[in-house]
Amino acid sequence: MTEHAMTNPTVGSREAGEDSARSLPMILFGVVAAIVAWIALAPFVMLIYSSLAADKDKLPYESTTLSLDNYVAVLADAKNLDLLGATAAFAIGSTVIGVGLAVFFAWLIERTDIFARKFLFVAMLTPMAIPSMIYAMAWIQLCGPNNGLINATLTNMGLGFIQVNVFSLTSMIVIQGVALASHAYLLIAIAFRNFDSSFEEQAFMCGRGKLATVFRITMPMLKPALLAAGLFFTVVALETFDIPIILGLTSHVQVVSTQIYWSTHPESGRLPEYGAASALGAVLVVIAYALISLYTRATRDAKRFVSVTARGFRPRPIPLGAWRWPLFGVAMLFVVVAVGLPLFILIWRSLLRFYQYPSMKALQALSLNSYYAVYNDPDIPKVLANTFTLSVGSAGFVTLLAAAVAWQVVRGSADAGWRRALNRLAFFPQSIPSVVVGLALIFIYLWLPIPVYGTLWIMAIAMVTRFLAYSTGTIIAAQMQLSAELEEAARVCGAGRAWTYLRVVLPLVTPAMMAAFLWVLIHIVRELGLSLMLYTLQSQVLSTKIWLLWENGRVADACATGVLTVAGLLLLLSAPTIFRGARGIWRAAFGT
């Protein structure tokens, strides 16, 4: 306490109050940063340590030798140049396709008066609910070389000279891109929804056409969300392995993620090669770090992207006029090819004990036996309860944490350097291979006296780690669209920081939080790699159950469980629409 304060108790208490008001945001920053650091640094430290631990057939914490051998092996191997080339083609190609499709559909559904917007919204999100492994398998059933539905149908029609080769880099890129579109859509749609149409109206009044307005006004204003999506999904495409491993083996196309998969799923008699996998993972972290630096630089001047101001905003749809039917046709074509056909194969496969090409004979063999088997499975009630608890709890926590991170990064009162560091820290876990995250968690929670090992809690920590980056990216992009004027206006009216956040900011970022929550929830339900490393008999979840059925040769039962999972997730996605519809019917019937 200063001398002045000591002689004047009133001034002293006011200064103390101001100090405390100044220090509270810093304490909050410290708490958020500490939680993120705990989540992100544990796997990061394990990644670096295991990339240096060189002993073969030893786990990283058993190793007694540290060296740069793994990095030398990764960087000096000439084959890895081909690997990086194929990886870049795969990641960039699929991201361009995925984000491109997502932007098109987000604009179409959120910003125009296209037909059946709610149907297209749900259809767009459907592939996200299908586990990637099953999605890739469905494409083999569709475009396989010997009896794929599309190829066989073309042959039966006398068009055998036209055949789709599903086992190629091009197919991998296209199928991954189509799968990514569904994921990217959710992130990008929020930005389109929050867009103030008065900007577009002003452009129209100045004589700009619709297309010019999209490219000169809409897209530049949405740069943070588009860059966030491009960045995030490039990293996702870098580390995703389901589709490359299933489609790339036959054509001998390897990417970094499949190399990591094989290193950590060794042949008989070996332990996972964490050294090689971690060195490759560290390379991915460097690439991710470079990408996020680019993103930070590109979105440095946050004011340029503000579309939600204190003057109000109106997300009014653009009339498509004569383009309404053709664009609806394009949208439906995508829905049929990317959603309808794989879903049909999944349902078809669940009704047959063994796959048959659609025919009268196959129709006679259809049965609901697999669904009965799932219904009668004694594990299912526990599996459903675990999946619900894990997905809702972890998605809820990670969304709240991401909102806190977003607030600190965009509006926090800490030094800009610290805020950038927090942003990067939250992004790190995304580029760390799942198996390394799992290993780090097993190691930490076996040694620490925190009783979470072997329970749902350790899986929840894993899921929060895995999906923090996506949630943070989504909510930061939404936060950047909000003008600081909104909060300043509230403060002028005498509102405190907490009140302003809860009553002004939170309602405006809630759509982004809901989108992040749904995305994370769906991905937790699908997530397999981490769950397999951490689950026990007591903590089985749907993804491990589907894996067990698949591995045990009960493919129809696995597909039936997959169909029911997709149906459940679609019901969840449609819940707001169903709720609004039911409320409308209730009001029409009872007038209340």
Binding site: N147, G148, I246, H252, S268, R353, L446
Partner: protein
């Protein structure tokens, strides 16, 4: 004096293995009842194992069994972490013998006098009494019966012929081919695989998609599907069968109690029970597995013997096995 020290060391070794001098099946069962349960980490189909669990529970009432499926490498990795942290939660693990060296290197399995206590035949007691053989995974050529006639595949060499170009599946790691390399030698095996790969197989990442793809007609034949599973799927109506073509490679499935297990007596009872005629019969009836050779050979093993098909069992020499797997998976080329 020297005899006394030797006796003391022997006693110490026995106690380290969790053995008491008066261990009998009955005394172990009494101890197991006190323990109440046994926790099993299995690479086998635990859902199909339910019938086996019931038979075991009828034989040894008062014991609860918690079994869950986990891939062998992940199971060993977890067991190592638990052991180092002094918090072992697993009692028994089963795995193919290729992984056992990792277990022995970390002292997770110790010798136990299986023959003396339970009368387990010598040929089933492996690695200085540290593990028991409970079955084999045979990896023959398999085929889709809607697309291939019985006898149409007469040798391993057939699949290198133009007739089969693009029409067969090959599992990427080549477990079976690596075992055949023990008999064929490295040069012949690699040469064979190169000719196979030149014939444009569909390469799959594991046995399950291989069997499903074969059953669905994606390919006519396959290398890498497990014989026991093919047989079970055939019984369920799948258009599948295995070619009676030798030599047939087979992995050895083993079971061992984990050192530091919370329920050691129950672990020993469970491990031993697999080797009994009752355990073997339920193993074969429920999962299609079991021993392919010896007095307790299952019906498929007996058929192989009657037809003169030789079986090549996975080597007990760990380094040789690892080397063969590496050269085979590299020759297939899907992985690296």
């Amino acid at each position: 004096m020297r005899n006394g020290i030797a006796a003391a060391f022997a006693a110490l070794a026995l106690s380290a293995g969790g053995v008491r001098a008066d261990d009998t099946p009955r005394s172990l069962y009494e101890q197991a009842k006190q323990e109440g349960m046994v926790s099993v980490w299995s690479s086998l189909d635990v859902e199909m194992q339910q019938a086996q669990l019931k038979v075991f529970s009828r034989k040894f009432p008062g014991l609860r069994i918690e079994a869950f499926k986990i891939p062998p490498a992940a199971a060993i990795e977890r067991a190592i972490a638990e052991s180092r942290a002094g918090r072992v939660t697993v009692d028994v693990m089963d795995t193919n013998s290729g992984y056992l060296q990792l277990v022995f290197d970390r002292d997770l399995a110790r010798p136990y006098p299986w023959g003396k206590v339970f009368g387990v035949p010598d040929d089933l007691v492996l690695y200085d009494n540290r593990a028991l053989a409970i079955g084999h995974y045979d990896l023959p050529i398999s085929y889709n019966t809607d697309l291939v006639k019985p006898g149409e595949i007469a040798s391993w060499e057939d699949l290198t012929q133009p007739k089969w170009k693009g029409k067969f599946m090959l599992e990427a790691r080549g477990f079976g081919l690596a075992i055949l390399a023990q008999e064929w030698g490295e040069e012949k095996t690699v040469s064979y695989i190169k000719r196979l790969v030149a014939n444009r197989p569909i390469i799959t990442q594991s046995a399950s998609p291989t069997m499903d793809g074969l059953a669905s007609g994606q390919a006519s034949a396959a290398i890498g599907a497990i014989g026991g599973r093919i047989q079970k799927l055939r019984e369920q109506g799948a258009p599948l069968d295995w070619a009676r073509v030798g030599p047939i490679p087979a992995q050895v499935v083993t079971v061992f109690p984990v050192v530091g297990a919370p329920h050691p007596a129950a672990a020993k009872l469970w491990s031993w029970w697999w080797t009994t005629p009752e355990g073997q019969k339920t193993f074969y009836d429920e999962q299609g597995y079991g021993l392919l050779a010896g007095p307790g050979a299952n019906p498929r093993g007996q058929e192989m013997k009657e037809k003169g098909l030789s079986i090549v069992f996975e080597t007990g020499k760990v380094e040789e096995g690892r080397h063969n797997l590496e050269i085979v998976s590299q020759a297939i080329g899907g992985l690296k």
